[in-house]
């Protein structure tokens, strides 16, 4: 009995300080954020309650709408591009190739590099190298194409991570599945579609959630490549909240924006998990 008491007390002592810390730096600011979203706080000075004013304005604000459209468009395209490329790359890196570990190691490099610095390097690449090669203007200066530049840089880094996850997925596929498949005459695309892909669906769902969520929260790349420009065409939600909330005097309004963004991220994660787990059950 004495031992059981000591055990329970120790478990409590181990948990409580950490929970307090978590509350102080996660739940507390979250609550404060929600509270600020009902005020007209500018980040300094006094403020008043404005009720749902910020939320109503949110849906009428053209700049906010634009940033949601851009972020969504960018995240969808980047997720597709990243997953297609990394799946192909993983299939290649998982086959019987020479220099396998060296190639795998090299293809992973983009993942360990800081997104901000990578962004600056690509900024130069888009501004000077590409125009000099093809005699065009920089895509980052174009309101129609700048977002594609962001997609390219985000995908360049994310492919590395997703590839590694697909490789670990492919290595779980047992060899005899292929042997059985080859007896049935499965080759190439049919083999991939009916044998390989269904078996790595859990890894596919990890990658979709992982990259989708990261792309929705894109910030560093925007900071380094376009700073939201040209003409606010590449302003991501995170960037807008940072830019206008911290320095633009819209603390309250952008808090409301952040709450909306939070709801979207939660809905997105839950939906994606539901969707992929229902797919797994069908197998």
């Amino acid at each position: 009995m004495k031992y059981a008491n000591d055990r329970q007390r120790t478990f409590m002592l181990m948990t409580i300080p950490v929970v307090v810390l978590f509350f102080a730096f996660n739940t507390l600011p979250l609550i404060k954020g929600v509270i600020y979203s009902f005020t007209n706080f500018r980040g300094y000075g006094t403020y008043d309650w404005v009720g749902l004013r910020n939320y109503i304005d949110l849906f009428q604000d053209a700049r906010v709408g634009k940033s949601y459209l851009f972020t969504l468009k960018m995240a969808v395209l980047a997720t597709i591009v990243t997953n297609v490329i990394s799946l192909i790359l993983a299939l290649g890196l998982n086959s019987k190739i020479r220099f396998k570990s060296a190639l795998r190691g090299l293809y992973f490099i983009p993942n360990i590099l800081g997104a901000l610095v990578v962004g600056y390097i690509f900024n130069y690449f888009f501004t000077y190298i590409i125009p000099a090669l093809f005699n065009t203007t920089s895509i980052l200066a174009s309101t129609t194409w700048a977002w594609v530049g962001i997609v390219i840089v985000c995908a360049w880094q994310a492919v590395a991570m997703n590839t590694i996850i697909y490789i670990s997925g492919l290595s779980t596929v047992p060899e005899d599945v292929y042997e059985a498949g080859s007896i049935d005459g499965a080759t190439g695309w049919t083999k991939f579609k009916h044998l390989t892909f269904p078996l790595i669906i859990p890894f596919f769902s990890i990658n979709m959630v992982l990259s989708g969520k990261n792309f929705l929260m894109v910030f560093d790349q925007i900071m380094a490549l376009t700073k939201g420009g040209p003409a606010q065409s590449t302003e991501s939600i995170s960037y807008l909240i940072y830019n206008n909330g911290m320095a633009g005097g819209q603390f309250g309004f952008q808090s409301a924006n952040a709450v909306l963004f939070f709801v979207i991220i939660v809905a997105f994660s839950v939906a994606q998990l539901r969707f992929t787990s229902s797919k797994e059950e069908q197998l």
């Binding site: 979250l30 404060k32 130069y124 190298i129 929260m217 952008q254």
Partner: protein, 280 residues
């Protein structure tokens, strides 16, 4: 099994993959080449930008180090990353142990588990503005505050990893120690903590990579303190580089170098760690 097939390499795929490496190598090549050149060597043509430098001089690096206060930024980055990793391993494994051992039979621990893990869905964007106010009010708008934030941001993930790993460690081990008269506290540190070493490696790798490369947290929290981390220094000094890209690229290369070196030394651990963290 076709034994010969094991030795035959798929050369077409190998060659395609080697060609594809250009997408990785080229940006790095460009960075290195520009970092070593002088502005006078940079003409507007492609060959002017991408040819090898006439002399391999380190003067750009010396100047970039001076402008960005490299050693101080490096020290701050090392300090933040190091302390966060050590504290994460110590605290997150401990809470992972306490929760992992009890969540099946205790409502309170199960609730605590779900409470912390659900923190994974909270984007930094919503915490950012209140955290800036809060850290300023509490007088921790500095490195210490940034570390505390990281401790909380990576807690959901690490808690999941640790309590998941704990399932494989039999409780019998602890009971054996109890017979010898050890308290739960000493049992944890002497027996369970060392057994979780593979998970410590995973947690260390994931936490270190994310913390080292993070810009947003130190950007908003330490903005008034005049302190920089290595990535943050690139941002702060962006205006000072002006159009001197050679200096800027020398600085970028210096910022990328620590992690590249780390990656070359422990490539295997990093790859394993990243996969473990994502898949589990």
């Amino acid at each position: 099994m076709d034994v010969k097939g094991k030795e035959r390499y798929n050369w077409p795929v190998t060659i395609l993959l080697i060609c594809g490496l250009i997408t990785i190598i080229f940006p790095l090549y460009m960075t290195i080449i520009i970092a070593f050149k002088q502005p006078s060597e940079m003409t507007n043509s492609i060959s002017g930008i991408l040819s090898l430098p006439k002399t391999w001089s380190f003067s750009n690096f010396a100047e970039a180090m001076r402008v960005t206060d490299f050693w101080r930024s490096l020290r701050n980055s090392l300090l933040i990353t190091g302390v966060t990793v050590i504290l994460s391993i110590a605290l997150h494994s401990m809470v992972g142990y306490a929760i992992g051992r009890n969540k099946a039979k205790s409502k309170w621990y199960n609730f605590t588990y779900l409470y912390i893990v659900s923190g994974m869905f909270v984007p930094f964007a919503i915490l950012m503005m209140p955290l800036v106010k809060q850290t300023a009010q509490w007088g921790i708008a500095n490195i210490f505050g940034v570390i505390l934030c990281y401790m909380v941001f990576y807690m959901p993930m690490n808690l999941m990893l640790y309590s998941g790993y704990l399932v494989n460690i039999p409780v019998a081990l602890e009971e054996a120690a109890r017979v010898d008269g050890a308290t739960t506290w000493t049992t944890y540190w002497k027996i369970i903590f060392p057994i979780m070493a593979p998970m410590h490696a995973t947690v260390a790798v994931i936490t270190a990579l994310s913390v080292w490369n993070d810009v947003m947290t130190p950007l908003v929290i330490m903005s008034g303190s005049g302190l920089n981390t290595l990535p943050l220094a690139q941002l702060s000094f962006q205006t000072q580089f002006g159009t001197n890209y050679n200096l800027a690229f020398a600085s970028y290369l210096l910022a990328l170098l620590p992690l590249l070196i780390f990656y070359i030394i422990c490539q295997k651990q990093i790859l394993n760690g990243v996969v473990n963290g994502a898949v589990k």
